[in-house]
Amino acid sequence: MSSMRRRIVREKAANNRKRVKSRRSAHTMVGRKKWKPHVPSRLAVEPAVDHSMDAWIKEAYDAGGRDASLHQIHEAVDHKRCINQYWSGWFLSNSKSIPWRNYGSISNAYLDGYSRRAGIARPNWVLIPTNRTVGVIVMVMNEEHTITGVIEQLQRLPLNEMIVIVNGSTDNSFSIVRKISDAMIVHYSQPLGHDVGRAIGANLAYSDILLFLDGDMPIYAEHLVPFIYGIEQGLDIALNDITPFLGVFSSRDSVTIMKEFINRSMGRPDLQANSLTAVPHALSRKAVEEIGCKHLIVPPKAQTIAIRKGLNIGAPQSIDVITKNRIRDKNVGSSNPVADMIVGDHLEALELAMKADGERLALHDSIRNRSFAGGSGN
């Protein structure tokens, strides 16, 4: 604060105290001891300030510098993950006060402060707000043109593991991934079909937080952070919220309608059309274990199982995967094999749910009295 502003505040506070004092003495009874709270003189001069973004940026910068001078990272250790540990320790202890919408600037400030003090070139990393292990599973089928972009973004994150499932690819996808990354790559010469790769990847992974991506769409590392943070904060499934990109109901395709239908049937209308069918999404280790890797092959089934088991499901991020969805010959047209497959997946999921929870799932018939006409059921 400037000195003039300080003087004005001080005068105002003093005036307030005078007024309060006179009010109080009017009510003070004779004989009763007057009790005054001890107010530290600093507070009497400056009212407490809620940390603004600028203040947090400075705090983060200083914290980064402090951590750089406190710690010496050994050569053999993964620097990115190590520095992220320091960052997430600081962030998580302050997370209740730090405005989430400024996470990007604040985490960048930390990295600025750290690299400045450590005397290293400022790396292009994106720090994540968790100490838990994080793995990414990427599905690839002939994506040599986009896979570099996908991998490069993932390499900005402090991941514990990267698993790439290359299937049915006749192009250079495998060689490119092998050349530019430390990923574990599983190569199948035959195409496995949709979603099988996710199950395979989930089975191989050990991390606590798993992010699932496709190799055909590079996504900025910054945009993946909310999925990771969602799981860190307690979600078991962090879905992508596609609601902003859907048009009015009459313009929606059958797949979108089915996704919303199943969410409603399972008592989760709040999830709207958000579904494990789509990537990106993240799962907690608990979700993987409760659902079972093999059920990840049919994502609507996995989602149904998750809802039935009471797992925490939310959609903390919105990435537009719809307008950029790559057109292949099998996924266009009003009746295309991929759409049919997904609708069929939903039928499989409904069958599972109905077998377990009855034919009406969450939508009981509380209106009719069926027995009067020889009916039964609810």
Partner: protein, 240 residues
């Protein structure tokens, strides 16, 4: 039908790997899948696998034998699992004979063949003078030749999924390798499973130096033997 998942760790052994896989394709008459786990090879082992359509798990660097096997085991979908060195050549009826032995009794968990080069009871002098001879005369099924042992060497190591579900994967403390097979056989025994040599199977093992120079190997063997003793409080060499 019973599927056998054959897991072959590989490190810069393209020619050996090719010969090994060729022999598997030639001489295996029961359903199988091959999974090659590549430990960061810099030769074109991986190109060979991809071009031949063999399922490949490519690691960025050498993680050693147990870790590579474990990843292959996680990927495997077979009812029985087989760990195989890349410097081996298999022979007619090799797998069907071993499977007969494996499933001849509920409590058999692990089966291995005889071979020309291995530590322990599985080594026999080469019964034929050329691979062609083996191809013509070898491996006539003979259950009289099956015998129980305490330990099967990891060069060609067949076990059931039941065993894996029960006792888990290889112990990676023995990386880069040696004595993880002893450890696994011991754990299987503790769970009530027997290990058998299928004496009616002979496979060829080049015995090429998988772990580098002789003095490094000696040190590795000593270190891992000690790790075994630290873990179990007895000398694994008793069972060899």
């Amino acid at each position: 039908m019973n599927l056998t998942s054959i897991i072959i760790p590989n490190f810069n052994g393209r020619q050996l790997l090719m010969d090994c896989i060729y022999s598997i394709k030639q001489f295996t008459d029961t359903p199988y899948e091959i999974i090659v786990v590549d430990n960061g090879s810099t030769d074109d082992s991986m190109d060979f696998c991809r071009m031949d359509g063999i399922t490949l798990l490519s690691l960025p660097a050498n993680k050693g034998f147990p870790a590579a096997c474990n990843l292959g085991l996680k990927l495997a979908s077979g009812d029985q699992l087989l760990l195989l060195n890349n410097d081996t050549i298999v022979t007619p009826n090799w797998l069907s004979n071993m499977l007969d032995c494996l499933y001849s009794s509920e409590d058999i968990g692990i089966v291995g063949p005889t071979t020309n080069y291995a530590s322990g009871k599985q080594q026999i002098p080469m019964p034929f003078s050329s691979l062609n001879e083996i191809a013509e005369h070898g491996n006539k099924p003979d259950k009289e030749k099956w015998r129980q042992v305490e330990r099967i060497v990891g060069i060609c190591f067949l076990f059931t999924r039941k065993v894996m579900d029960r006792i888990g994967l290889l112990d990676e403390r023995f990386s880069p390798g040696h004595y993880e097979d002893d450890d696994y056989c011991h754990r299987a025994r503790l769970s009530g499973y027997r290990s058998m040599i299928a004496g009616d199977v002979f496979i060829y093992h080049h015995g090429s130096a998988s772990f580098g120079r002789q003095d490094n190997l000696k040190q590795l063997l000593a270190d891992n033997r000690q790790k075994f003793i630290d873990k179990w409080s007895f000398d694994p060499n008793l069972f060899i």
